[in-house]
Structure formats: structure tokens, C-alpha cells
Symmetry: C2
Subunit: 339 residues, 2 copies
């Protein structure tokens, strides 16, 4: 465990074999992604892997003209960090180009497809769909507790993270499943240059925990982490929808019922975030903040301020307090409208 | 341990308090750096922290004109990765400008000062010394096993790493001691955007191991990690110098004897790397490779191919085999001269 190296026979030389095995077994068990014949690349969270993927798709030799940075787009509302992650070093390789729906520049581009989407939980496909496009699929939330597993995803670059699959954010473990060896090599190069690999302690603990989760999936529902979590999220969403229904200010997206291959039943999505919409012209984040509910406003996600994103993954007591505070917000509120 | 957060009251909100304490106690015990009233910033190895420091010193609001990337220099021979780390994303914030001795551009610049130096073990100070310069001190090797501890270092940004202090490279833990709060905040921002913090498993294990090392320093030499390691490195260097002395091809740098405040004796440096010089015009890396000794050639460090860097931190058996192979290289070798 003291060395930089984990497995010098593997393209991803800093990946612990136990973690690689656990990841492949987990996807096989859950049925949410094709992991056979894919390169597993481990990262310091999927945040680092997203940057590794941008680097891999935009770096010299990727077939991109070297003069201009390649455009990076994502359909709005999109995860608020993509823009910052893309632009914070003012890279000459890639550059944030905003909402994929508005993208009309000729030439190569990278589209990030987040499905289920952060912030609104929608199931998504690429929207630009041009020949010169390269795709990164961020599937952080494609797990049974959040959404029905309708098929094994099978894309060129798929990103997952320990923080959203089981909740272990502090371990900073993400992984990518990559089809193409050249792309995988470049992603690995990025992680080599930016941090010389990934914590072994975290990798080994993640392997152990994922092993326990996989083992639980063979047993009854009460021992099955994903079934348990699916029920928990369904309960929270039911309570939340009750409160929102009674309010005359807020609304929530609707999700279709779909067959979940993992739990063998029809379920609808129960996303990790509530994507709350206020009546027109209301500053949703401001309104909620005035009632001591901290959210992230729609403008951070490339849409209007009538939207706000709220985490539903808090501790039980915090969640109940959130519902209570939300129930207390009445239509007579005028103070912060359009401010 | 599941949360992203470690200590929300700390500027560095992802730093485990136990690790922060252990780091400060370690520097106090060893006497190699002033850590009181300094901000501790943890990173995924000091590689990530070096980038965080570049970002902090070059990013908007750092007083740098936004049009041009700031020049980053380091006196040659310099650590082979600085250039790659600086340039791999073609940042518009900073740009590698090579050997600090050759730097003659007006305006702001960043100088990385590595002391003891990688690859040649020299004790260094900044060389450009102009008002508009900002300094990053990479003190990865400023520990008693490598060099006498002559005084507590006291610079604006000092980088250290678990991998070189105790050898735990696989944990990917580095830390910076930072004087200025604004700079510390920007470094923390960099780590937030690039990896949303640092593995907690690694931080907690590092805290535990550093605690054991500190505890050992109170006891007899045999239990004192740094004294033990200083003896081990002295032994290796003695053997290496014997072999090199007998060769008619190689030479090594000489280091002065200095008083080590930590071990209370006169010692010379015993660097982690041997910086071998071959007779003029010899390709040192090639010559050694032909004798099954893998090194990194001088050109990677910004100097001539008559130099090569060899790690002296291998396992005992490997080290002895290296010495044996080195002894076998005779002056009659002509095959790869000047190739």
C-alpha cells in the first residue's frame, strides 16, 4: 500500500484490482451499465474523471484542431459545476459553451449528458447529435434508489461515483467505464499528471463496502441496500409531493412509471434533488432562504430564478424540518418577489 | 466519514482536524518548518497542491494582468514534472518558462524553489529575486533522512508530502503551509473544483501514522523513524560513493557537512536520488539502461544527457543489485557514447 503503483499490468496502473472487480460485479448485479470489456479508470471522485474525460477528448492527437479550444456543452438545466470545472484554469484545450440546446457552432464539440439529470432528475439523451460530437455520460444517479433501471447503459465514457451510489462522498472515489483504449489511456494520463493516482486507502475501503452491498443484493429486501434506499426515497418523495400539492406556490417535475429490472416492479424516479419551481417571477432560492431553507437557485443551472434545487439526501430529522418549513410558506409572501 | 466536509469551521473545510494537528506537531518535533499561525491545506499529494498554488498565485484577483499567462520558472536541473503539470491543460493563467537562471522577461512570474532539490539534492534559494516574483517552496525532501535540518523553513507557501516524509506514496496525501489567508483560500478553491476535497480514509491513516512517528521521536534512536532512516541513507550513500569512486566514468555531487538540529550532529545530505554525471558526451541514461539500470536522463530535468537521476529508495535487495550493476560498467564501453 505504500507504493504509487497498484497493478502495473493494468492500463490504469493506480487502480486496485479489488476495486476494479467490485465495480464490475456491482454493475453486473444492478444491471445499470455494461462493464464487460470496458476499461475501468478510477478517479478522485467523478469530478476529477469529468476533467480527465475533457482532457482525453480535447488533447493533442484527439483529432481536434489545436488552435481553438473545443466547445463543451450540456443541456440546461445542467449541473452547476460543469462550467466551473471546464473554465477555471482557462484551458486552451476546452471551453464551456453553455446550453446544448442553443449550440450552433460548426465543428467538433463535447456534450456532457447527465442522466438522471442533476438538478431535475430527467432521463436524458444527447441533444446536439452531430457527427463531430463526442459524448461524456455522467451516470452518477443511475442507481435503483433514484430511478428505475430500465437497461444496462452502454456509452463510450460513463462516469459513476461512490458518493452517489452508496453515499460515501468523503472517500473521493469515482470511476469511469471507457470503451476505447486510447481515450482510457489519456484519462489515466490526466490523473497521473494531476494527482499521481488515487488514494489506496479509499480504493480498498470502497472495494470492501461495494462487496458488502453486492452481497446484500443476493438477500431479502431488508438487507438489500438499493431496495431499502428505493423505499426510503419513495417515502420522502411522497411526503414532499403532499406538501407541494397543498402549496399554491411550488410545483415539481413529474416522472413516468417504468419497469425497474433490478427491483422487478414499476416505479417512478425519486431523484436525490427536488427541482422546485415557483410561480413565475418569484426568486425561488430567495423565498426559501427567507424561510431558512438553503438551496441552489436556477440561474446556477443555466435556467431562470423561479427554480431551485434542494437536496433530499439529508438526515431524517433535517428532511422533516425541511418539509415543515416548506409547508409554512404561504402565497401571501410578497417580500422577495422578483428581487 | 461519509460527508464531503471534515471541519466546516476551518478555512480548509475538507481537512481532518486530526491530520492538521499531526502535521503541526510533526513540524514542531522535527523543526523543519514554521507551522504556527500558518494555514494548513491538504491535497491529493503535493502534486495537486503545486497546481493549487499556481492557480492561487495566477488566478483573477491575484494582481496579475489577465491578458497573458504568468511565467513559471525553476532553476535547472529541476523536477521533471513541473513543466508537464504547468502546461498539460494549456492554461491561460500560467505557462512554463523554463530555467530560472535564463529568465529575463519583465513583469510578474512564479518561481518554484525545490530544496533539497529534485534531482540533485542541492539546498536552494530563489534565483530570480525580483519584486514581482511569487515563490512556491517545494520542501518535499526537507526531512532528516535526506538532509541536515539547519533551521525551521519560513516561506509564504511551503509544500510537503506524506510520500517523501514517511514513504506512504499510495495514500496521496500532501500538505501546504501557507502564510496568507487569501492565497490559502484560493488553493482550497482549486482543490474544491478539481476534486471536491481529499480522501478522508487517507487523511485519517496519515494522521495515525504521523502520530506514531512523532511518538517515536521522543524515544531512543532505534525507535526514531528519522534517525533510523538517516543512518540507512548514510549507509547507502557510503556504498554508492565507494562504487562511483572506483569507476572512471561517473561522478556524484558533493554535499557539505552541516549541523542537524534534529539529530544534534554534523551530517551531510543523503538525497533520495543519486544525480549521476557521466564523462562528457556520454548518454548517461542510455549507458545505464544498457546495463539494466532504469533512470531518468538529464534532459528531462532541463540539463544535458550526461546526467541521470536514480532513485535510492528502492528495497534493500534492489539497491544492492543496482550497485552491482553499476560496478560492472567499465570505461571501455563505447557503444552508446554520444548517441
Amino acid at each position: 500500500m505504500m507504493s504509487y503503483f497498484s497493478d502495473i499490468g493494468n492500463v490504469c496502473w493506480f487502480l486496485e484490482p479489488q476495486l476494479s472487480d467490485a465495480i464490475k460485479r456491482l454493475h453486473h448485479t444492478v444491471g445499470n451499465a455494461v462493464s464487460e470489456d470496458r476499461y475501468v479508470v478510477v478517479g478522485t471522485g467523478s469530478t476529477q474523471l469529468c476533467q480527465a474525460a475533457l482532457y482525453a477528448l480535447a488533447s493533442p492527437g484527439a483529432g481536434v484542431a489545436e488552435a481553438d479550444p473545443i466547445s463543451v456543452v450540456c443541456a440546461a438545466p445542467h449541473y452547476s459545476s460543469y462550467q466551473e470545472v471546464t473554465d477555471f484554469l482557462r484551458s486552451g484545450l476546452y471551453k464551456w459553451a453553455g446550453d446544448a440546446y442553443d449550440f450552433d457552432k460548426d465543428g467538433p464539440y463535447i456534450e456532457i449528458v447527465t442522466s438522471p439529470n442533476n438538478p431535475d432528475g430527467a432521463i436524458r439523451e444527447a441533444v446536439v447529435n452531430r457527427k463531430e460530437g463526442k459524448l461524456i455520460h455522467d451516470l452518477a444517479y443511475y442507481w435503483p434508489q433514484y430511478t428505475p433501471i430500465t437497461r444496462p447503459a452502454d456509452y463510450d465514457i460513463m462516469l459513476f461515483t461512490f458518493s452517489k451510489s452508496t453515499g460515501h462522498a468523503g472517500s473521493r472515489i469515482g470511476w469511469a467505464l471507457v470503451k476505447d483504449k486510447v481515450v482510457a489511456r489519456k484519462m489515466i494520463k490526466f490523473i497521473e499528471v494531476s494527482s499521481i493516482g488515487v488514494s489506496k486507502e479509499s480504493q480498498l475501503r470502497a472495494a470492501k463496502i461495494l462487496g458488502v452491498v453486492i452481497e446484500g443484493c443476493q438477500h431479502s429486501a431488508s438487507e438489500n441496500f438499493f431496495e431499502y434506499s428505493q423505499c426510503l426515497m419513495a417515502e420522502r418523495w411522497e411526503k414532499l409531493r403532499d406538501v407541494v400539492k397543498k402549496s399554491q406556490i411550488f410545483s415539481l417535475p413529474k416522472y413516468p412509471q417504468e419497469w425497474c429490472n433490478f427491483t422487478s416492479k414499476y416505479v417512478e424516479s425519486h431523484p436525490a434533488f427536488a427541482w422546485l419551481k415557483c410561480k413565475e417571477d418569484t426568486n425561488c432560492e430567495g423565498l426559501l432562504k427567507a424561510h431558512k431553507v438553503l438551496t441552489r437557485g436556477g440561474e446556477r443551472f443555466g435556467v431562470g430564478k423561479e427554480y431551485a434545487r434542494i437536496s433530499l439526501l439529508s438526515q431524517g430529522e433535517d428532511f422533516n424540518q425541511f418539509l415543515e418549513r416548506l409547508s409554512g410558506i404561504k402565497t401571501t409572501e410578497q417580500g422577495i418577489r422578483t428581487t
